[in-house]
Amino acid sequence: MSVLQGAHRFEALVVGTSNRTAITAGRAVANAPGAAYNPLLIYARPGMGKTHLLGAIAHQVFAMNPAARIEFITLDEFVEGFHVALSTGDSDRFRARFGDADLLLVDDIQFLTRQREMQTELLRVLDVMLAGQKQVVLTSDRAPSEIESLDDRLLTRFAGGLVLDIAQPDYETRVAILQRKAEERGASFPDGVLEAVASLDIESVRELVGALNRLMAFQAVSEVPIDAAQARVLIGGLQSAAETEELVVEQAEPMEFAAAGQAAMVHAGDARRVLADALPGVMLGQSDMLGGGPVDELASHPHDDDDASHHDFGLAGEPHEYRDTHEFSEPRDAGGDADSLGDELAEKPALQADRDEFGDFLSDLAATLARQVDPWRARVGEAILRWEGEGFRTYRLERLLDDPEPPDPESVMVQYEADAEQLLELRAEAESLAPEMAGAAQLTDPGNMAAAEAYMQRVREGAVPPAAPVEHWLLDDLIEGPGNRMAVRAAQAAIAEPGNKYNPIVIVGGSGVGKTHLLHGIGNALALASDGHVACLSAHDFTQELIEAIDRDAVTAWRNRYRRCSALLLDDVHLIAGKEKTQEELFLLFNLFLETNRQLGFASAVPLAELSGVEPRLLTRLEGGLVVELPPPDRELRQQLVERTLAGRGQEADAELVTYIASRPAESARAVQGYVQRVLHSADSQQARANVTLAREVLEGAPRVVRKSSVPGRTVSVAVSSSGGVKSREKTVWSWPTLSERVIEEWK
């Protein structure tokens, strides 16, 4: 089994146009093994990152599923393993090994050449894995069709998946790779050095990294930072002799040779030796720079200086220009040692030609052009790397690179970056509102901002907090009596230790006994004690909101509103009976709040035991907390209630009146308050003081002594029985809703 290198991860791959497709496919395969592109075959020349990509896939699969069985082998290992298995008669076990794997990564399958037996074996393994939807990824240094004598069936299998190649990295990618690798190694170089190396004709990533290592090694022994020209000499050996001379000018003795070109070549040789001495073990690049000739031989070759004046057109003699301008003819001179000069000149073109100056010039020009004329291409490449790193889709930018002639690349890039920046802001907003929604695909595509905005709208809607408790229903305002004492004390305990003491707290009681007041009182106290939002609303509203959310396809956002709350209090919870979706959502919230020790509170007008239409799983959870009953108000509570209500109306508490009203039977506090209100209204309408007589009259219909009217001829006698019957000639329209407006009509 191959050793999986820790550094071989997707993050460490520099993505460029040459390898983007392969890496994207690799990611897809790693994220969903067996589901896409199976088998995946990647071919490229050595040193282009195939093995790195295999390792990255393995790491990714392992990170996502540590239990996954991953087989990562080279073809050599596959062959060797098979041969061992055959020799030990254990071939079944060998096959079972791959049959059990979830992911098979095979490196260097080009060695299948002419190995019919191994091809058959690999085919068998492939078929087993593909049938089991297990992922297979293979690499080769050449296209499958170029692997000699490869079984057609294997070709068919490969074609059934995806076959991709990794091309030679372009200039921008080479620069990016060098920068990334230099950064990883903590090395820094002056501007232009890495660009100079990238502009050389280095074909593979591995060679590129090797070149970087050479730069670093040189820089380590050099007192001054290496510059672009030196880098080119060191890496490519393409530097002109004169520049090479500069490289070692301090070490080399001044040359006495008159033939400068040749002298320079000697310098080049010296430069190599100096470098070799300084950097034992560092390969110094093309030795053919010296035209294949031994350096010493060149160095020892004497030079005449007879041609010292061969440029001196100002001197007498033939000018040194080419006569036939359509053909390259060697310069000549009448003076000096013709043979010696002839030898020298015959040698020089060969040396110069090896350097392919025009090729170098083109290479440099291409780099310059990329920087100067199409600088956007480099910037687009950088932008793609950056935004892919942010997790954004970059197809808009990739199209630019694919298009040889995009109409306005700058504005496309500016717009893309603006959109991406906006997405970043939206993502940050989503992160603050609903972290689990921030990673949505809608927020990763700058090419579809409309979808992002629509999605954010839903997130924002979800961010509006649910209804809070009504502010004026405070726990302190609740009158405590023997009947409700247990409930009030339980509420106080729950408030003291939210989520821990009584969770949930369920208040059960008839209508008007103070359940809602108590629930909101709890809510207000919790809100006061915590930073989070306390949701307090009726089950009816809860259900209505859910229905609207379903209608707008915004259930997630709706759900998140509640998930963010520090407490959830639902009034009239009995109303969820028969509402399945509401119960389901409440159940989920219930569990979440319990798990996170957040307070839950419910009020129900129906005892839990009598609740029908509620799922048992929810009912048992309600019962699992503290269920307290709020009974009808007892006499003590009623008395306090009457006193407070009278005081609230600015009435002095008449003890007799208070006692009388409190003695009246009442099923709820609301009813007691109703008594007081009726008496006070009646008193107001009669401009009389509220007293027990009036109260009796109002509440019981008791006869009262009425003063005779001063208006003659008008009968004002009233006879109202205690049972409310009308016995006088007047009658009261008891059914009139407002007491003060009840009409007392004279009976005729």
């Binding site: 070109g261 001196d312 080419y322 301008t325 100067q372 004329v373």
Partner: protein, 200 residues
């Protein structure tokens, strides 16, 4: 002239080699001609006197092929260095995208260099071209001659290159510095291009 045509994806650069007579302008072009593959170069036109002195001008078209998606063509010209051919020099200078000033490094030719440089500035001015905006590179040719005969590039820089443009020591006959100079002027031209110097 059309420097860069984004629609046609073409770049055409006209580079003029300027300098005093016998400084080696034609030699530069000939060296380049000798290094460019047959398929990439056009016919080099050179009109010379009987004494092999450039009478009118040299012209070398080079097709660099597709570079970064642009069909790139360089047109290299020389001007006659002799002072009495100023009309031809003006003609050749028209529409130049970049100029290589080939100076003769010999000390005794210093005044000729200066005179030619002044002539260049005058001719550019006469065509309404601001010399400060024109990409120019200096080449100090014949640096291979004995040290006592030539001025060093630093000395020539001090005297001629007061704008501090790129300069290159060269031995055009043997090629040293020729492509370096061409590359230097190309970069300047392309940089100007990127800075907005896109002609129609």
């Amino acid at each position: 002239m059309s420097l860069v045509n984004f629609t046609a994806r073409e770049i055409t650069c006209k580079i003029v080699y300027y300098g005093p007579g016998r400084s080696g302008k034609t030699t530069n072009l000939q060296y380049i001609f000798g290094r460019v593959p047959d398929t990439r170069r056009g016919r080099m036109v050179s009109l010379a006197t009987q004494g092999d002195r450039t009478l009118f001008f040299d012209f070398l078209p080079i097709d660099l092929g597709s570079i970064s998606g642009f069909q790139t063509k360089f047109q290299l010209y020389t001007v006659p260095g002799q002072s009495y051919y100023n009309a031809t020099r003006k003609l050749v200078l028209q529409g130049a995208d970049g100029i290589v000033f080939v100076a003769d490094s010999q000390a005794r030719r210093f005044d000729d260099n200066l005179e030619s440089l002044q002539n260049l500035q005058e001719n550019l001015l006469s065509q309404g071209v601001d010399v400060r905006t024109m990409p120019i590179a200096f080449q100090y040719n014949k640096q291979d001659l004995p040290g006592e005969l030539v001025l060093q590039p630093s000395e020539l820089d001090e005297s001629l290159n007061f704008r501090g443009v790129p300069s290159f020591g060269a031995d055009a006959l043997h090629g040293s510095g020729v492509f370096e100079t061409l590359k230097g002027i190309s970069e300047l031209v392309l940089r100007k291009l990127a800075a907005g110097g896109i002609a129609e």
